[in-house]
Subunit: 217 residues, 2 copies
């Protein structure tokens, strides 16, 4: 008897739409980041700092929130194009929500920053068609989060440690964090920043510029 391995890439419906989104971004030479974290880790602050430093680039922000548009209003005030998605009961963005935004885009962008819903668990399960997954962990949350919520750290391409200005008032232990990361995702080097005190932002900005420079054309 011969065995035949029937390999079927049964992509879930989310994956199919994520692929379509990715094709659109690629065709337009646009780099896309899916920015994820717990509530209150500083996703919007990171985005505001990024926009400020990359003023020479064409940037679009997509804000994902259960309710309200507080963050989108902050982005709008900076003069950057922004779309607000309200997910209501859904604890994460999905590819279809991003596709709805794509249908409305009328310009080409260098960079699209997607701020996912504040949640360290489910967002990582749903590809949006992005190029890179960015996870933010803030110092007051503690160094043990990757032990308790491993998947998002396993799949992330970059880890920003925000609020390092609070290190003196915290038990956050970088040695322990690095030990955990070594086991989960040894390529994940944490970049230490403080949006409030404008610390470490250059390293993050250089990382983005490098990714943009890799675009063809």
């Amino acid at each position: 008897m011969k065995k035949i391995n029937v390999m079927q890439d049964v992509l879930s419906s989310n994956e199919i739409i994520a692929l379509k989104n990715h094709e659109y971004f690629k065709k337009n030479n646009t780099i896309v980041f899916n920015i994820m974290s717990s509530p209150g880790s500083g996703k919007t602050s990171v985005i505001l700092e990024t926009i400020k430093k990359l003023f020479n680039y064409k940037i679009l922000v997509i804000e994902g929130d259960i309710a309200g548009d507080i963050d989108a209003k902050k982005i709008e005030k900076s003069g950057t194009d922004v779309y607000q998605i309200n997910t209501f009961d859904s604890c994460h963005l999905n590819a279809s929500m991003i596709n709805t935004v794509i249908q409305k885009i009328k310009k080409r962008y260098d960079l699209i920053l997607i701020e996912n819903v504040g949640n360290l668990i489910c967002p990582v399960e749903y590809n949006l068609g992005e190029d890179y997954k960015i996870v933010i962990l803030s110092v007051p949350e503690g160094h043990d989060k990757p032990v308790k919520y491993p998947k998002i750290f396993e799949k992330a391409n970059l880890l920003l440690i925000n609020k390092i200005d609070l290190m003196d008032f915290s038990d956050f232990d970088f040695k322990k964090l690095n030990e955990t990361l070594k086991k989960l995702n040894k390529n994940l080097q944490p970049v230490k920043i403080s949006c409030k005190k404008s610390l470490g932002i250059e390293e993050w900005i250089n990382w983005i510029k490098e990714k943009i420079s890799l675009l063809p054309g």
Copy 2:
């Protein structure tokens, strides 16, 4: 034509099990808290402070985590009975998970403290059979969280604002928080605490003692 309103209490399967759990707790004269927050707001620290102050009471802790047993080990070290539930991909506890623990309980407890998975969105959708829903918000997360994640604040019976020792390094605005709470849940009075500096814990402990004193017998 006459209209007949067919009122059917079609309880979801979770609600049916939650009701069973609640009956068990009631029969045993046990008060049960479902403690919810974002990752890193201080659920375990609150539980450890509570255990310390209520050493005269029979307490059980149920720890809900995606992965690992870091927190359960901390509780165990304090000499308190503890069960660890690992939810793997599930971003919240459900009534069935708690029922599994109930099947194993061999003693009567005055108080059961359930630490839900760190998530400000989904846990509130799943009743566990608890008497009270406690939500913790920590100062570094920001006062705007109830605007962005309203449901958990709408349904909570008590709100603990943890890490008030970080107020001096934060833009947290109690006035704005109270304005939001007034619209969402006007009975929700925030209790300000710092587990790290042992501030405000008495008010929380008195609230618990009052609830225990209401038990019949």
